[in-house]
């Protein structure tokens, strides 16, 4: 009897001691992990601020903390504890979190820190391709480390975990998912870029500028274009000309029946209309073919940009003086280029001014000491807003680009149901500068057939004056009154979805319709008088989804959109 009591006491003390030990180690691990989280935040700020020395010290501290956390969760007591009922899975989860963070700190972050951004900036008109190749192989390794960490955390079951631990695992999962998307993208880009820049043979691209004053679905009518030649990282700007000079073509028979049904033969006839469709690869391939037919030379891809990109870049360079003309300032450049120029100059003057602006900004980048950080965030924003688009004529490259925002491709499948609202000018004028679009997307009821209702409310306001605009702004004035902007609004359902009914200012509206890439599209004619606002409401069905999220894909305009998305709970909740 006494012996059993003694044995019980010993076992009890051991369990208590063990529990205490594991608890103590857990408390230690928690402190180290919290420190690591703080340091990671500090590290990212320092990297963004190009403060390399301090970032190195922070990284060293981060590695130490992560290592301690890993050690704290790696002793035998902890391992035994993982088999205990109730708390075992929590201990296991904390262990996995500590290991994942330690691996990232030791194997992923140092590479990212070594990849010095400033060496990637083009100096003396060229980019160091060999250096880029080195960075590329480092990135591939980093990407593998991040993937491993992601798989590790993805394998941790979250049901049954204590609230705090579950939250930590869920947060880390989201962070690492995002990180993996980015390293994956960076890895692909770094592998692709040397080839694109002519490391494996000279390349030739068409760079077109989209003009949001006369709207097209991908941003604006193709205006000027330039041939860019790339060889071993050196970029040269070749022939420059105006798209209008290319004339007319007979490529309607090459169009897909879907595009032809929705946007007529115009898409294959005028270079100014290739981007009536929002699918940039379609527009770019057509434009390339038109250029080849006219010039006899082929190009390897098409790059599209708009003047708003220039306004972002001017923020990095500071004001740029155009000799013989005005000074370009970031805040005013869109107005200068898209409005004032048409008012002030005749067509010949406009062309001269635009060409002079181009070369002025171009030389500013190579002569001034531009802050890389400001410059990078300008580019990042422009790509995010789909104002820089790229298409490669080489299939293997295009397969990589197509999944990226830069590719501007209308996907035929998606995770979040996405409604497209695309604007094409129907007045033949340059009134796009005065338009202020906004859109609200509300996620509605779940339907028994597995689809979900989405309500789009689109408004278009015109700030155009009622008189005083020059003939080159008013253009063809197809809406009757030359000051009234006629916009053909294409509303695309999510992939696999459908468009139900459309109302303009509350009255049922007859709309054109068709399909493109598994989406039903309708085209509504919206005419806005100076100072007026029109409201278009469209009810849309998703494909089969339970998701309560929604997203919008919009034509980038001269003045950014005002948007709002009202999500709802998932249908299973």
């Amino acid at each position: 009897m006494r012996r059993t009591l003694l044995a019980g006491l010993i076992v009890g003390s051991l369990v208590l001691l063990g529990g205490g030990w594991v608890g103590y180690r857990g408390w230690q691990a928690r402190a180290h992990l919290l420190n690591a989280a703080g340091l990671a935040q500090q590290l990212s700020a320092e990297v963004m601020g190009s403060d390399v020395d301090r970032a190195r010290r922070t990284l060293a501290a981060l590695q130490e903390q992560a290592g301690e956390a890993r050690a704290a969760t790696g002793d035998p007591g902890w391992r035994v504890g993982q088999h205990a009922p109730y708390a075992g899975d929590d201990l296991g989860a904390v262990r996995q979190v500590a290991v994942a963070i330690d691996e990232l700190a030791r194997d992923a972050f140092p590479t990212l820190l070594r990849a010095d951004l400033s060496t990637l900036l083009p100096g003396k008109g060229r980019l160091d391709v060999a250096r880029l190749r080195t960075v590329s192989s480092q990135l591939t390794e980093t990407d593998e480390v991040v993937r491993r960490a992601r798989d590790r955390i993805a394998a941790v079951p979250t049901t049954g975990l204590v609230g705090q631990v579950r939250q930590a695992v869920t947060d880390l999962r989201a962070e690492i998912d995002q990180l993996a998307t980015l390293t994956g993208g960076a890895d692909q880009a770094a592998r692709l870029l040397p080839t694109l820049l002519g490391a494996d043979g000279a390349r030739r691209y068409l760079m077109v500028s989209q003009n949001p004053a006369e709207l097209r679905a991908t941003g604006g009518m193709f205006g000027a274009y330039a041939v860019i030649e790339a060889e071993a990282g050196v970029l040269r700007m070749g022939e420059q000309s105006s798209v209008g000079g290319l004339g007319q073509f007979d490529l309607a028979s090459k169009l897909s029946p879907e595009v032809r049904n929705l946007y007529t033969d115009l898409v294959g006839t005028y270079p100014a209309d290739v981007n009536l469709t929002p699918d940039f690869p379609t527009a770019a391939a057509l434009f390339r073919q038109m250029y080849t037919e006219r010039s006899g030379t082929t190009v390897d891809g098409v790059l599209a940009v708009d003047p708003v990109v220039l306004s972002y870049l001017l923020r990095a360079t500071g004001p740029v003086t155009v000799p013989g003309h005005t000074t370009l300032v970031s805040d005013k450049v869109v107005r200068t280029l898209l409005s004032d120029t048409y008012q002030r100059l005749d067509q010949k003057g406009q062309d001269e001014f635009f060409a002079a602006s181009a070369s002025a900004v171009f030389s500013a980048f190579f002569t001034r000491d531009v802050n890389p950080r400001a410059f990078l965030s300008a580019l990042d924003r422009a790509i995010g807003e789909r104002r820089i688009l790229f298409w490669s004529a080489h299939q293997a490259e295009q397969r990589v680009i197509v999944g990226n925002r830069l590719g501007g491709s209308l996907p035929d499948q998606e995770k979040v149901p996405t409604v497209g609202v695309f604007l094409n000018d129907g007045s033949g004028a340059k009134l796009g500068y005065y338009l202020r679009p906004s859109a609200t997307l509300t996620v509605g009821e779940c339907r028994p057939d597995g689809r979900r209702l989405l309500l789009l409310r689109f408004t278009l306001h015109s700030t155009a004056p009622a008189r005083g605009l020059s003939p080159s702004v008013l253009g063809l004035g197809l809406a009757g009154d030359p000051y009234t902007a006629r916009t053909l609004v294409s509303v695309y359902s999510p992939a696999g979805g459908a468009v139900l009914t459309s109302r303009l200012d509350g009255v049922a509206l007859r709309v054109g319709s068709g399909t493109e890439r598994r989406r039903q599209a309708v085209i509504a004619t919206v005419e806005v008088r100076p100072g007026a606002t029109r409201t278009l409401e469209v009810d849309v069905l998703t494909g089969k989804t339970g998701s309560g999220d929604g997203d919008l894909w919009l034509t980038p305009t001269a003045t950014p959109w005002t948007t709002q998305i009202k999500s709802a709970p998932h249908c299973d909740q």
């Binding site: 059993t4 989280a37 990671a40 935040q41 990212s44 990297v47 951004l117 990637l120 900036l121 083009p122 980019l127 049954g160 947060d171 990180l179 980015l182 390293t183 960076a186 770094a190 691209y205 760079m207 003009n211 205006g223 860019i228 700007m237 209008g244 004339g247 007319q248 029946p257 049904n261 115009l266 009536l276 940009v305 708009d306 990109v309 220039l310 898209l338 635009f354 181009a358 171009f362 500013a364 890389p372 580019l379 990042d380 820089i388 129907g426 007045s427 033949g428 339907r447 597995g450 080159s472 992939a495 696999g496 459908a498 468009v499 459309s502 709309v511 319709s513 039903q520 085209i523 494909g543």
Partner: protein, 211 residues
Amino acid sequence: MRLTRIIMALTVGLAVVAAPTGAGAAQPQPTPSQPNSQPTAYPPQPPVLTVNPSTIIIGETATLTGAGFGLNEAVQHAVSSAPLAIGQRNQAPARRGDGSTVAMAPVAYQAAAPLLFTVQADAAGRFSVPYTPSVTGRLTFTAVGLTTGRTASATLTVLPRSQPTPSRLPVTGDSIIGTSLTVGGGLLGVGVVLTLAGLAWRRRRLDAGTN
């Protein structure tokens, strides 16, 4: 933690190769309308053929409306259809030689709606005609003015009637089963230990009582 920003900085860094091309962005030379204007204007026109509403449920009627055809012109309509195939993105619809699509499995609903019919435009070149489809799917109407040769098309989505809501099956992911097994196993283990301990205790008390 904002680990992502570190990578973001790097990704954008790579985008820097666009720098010289980015400078090219400085030439937004908007071309005003085509210099040598052709008879066909380049700006897109409002739709010529519309079908409203754009989506109906089988059995309902949509209205086809045309405008801009020849005065009193006969306008021929051809109807082709493709299955909805929601969620089956790799399934391409069957294609005719001219590129139009045909339904692979049309579901007969009632007396078949005509797939080819002619409508007379009025003195202003307009027409309006009801259409009640007999199949579900995406129906594409192609209208051809028999005198002017003017062509236009519109697409109607025809949904099947809603089936009664299928009873939702519980989500039984591997991880959930795995976890419940772990938890269940743990509980079972605890239960066994408690029972054994309880038995041993009682025995001891009984023993003590008899002693």
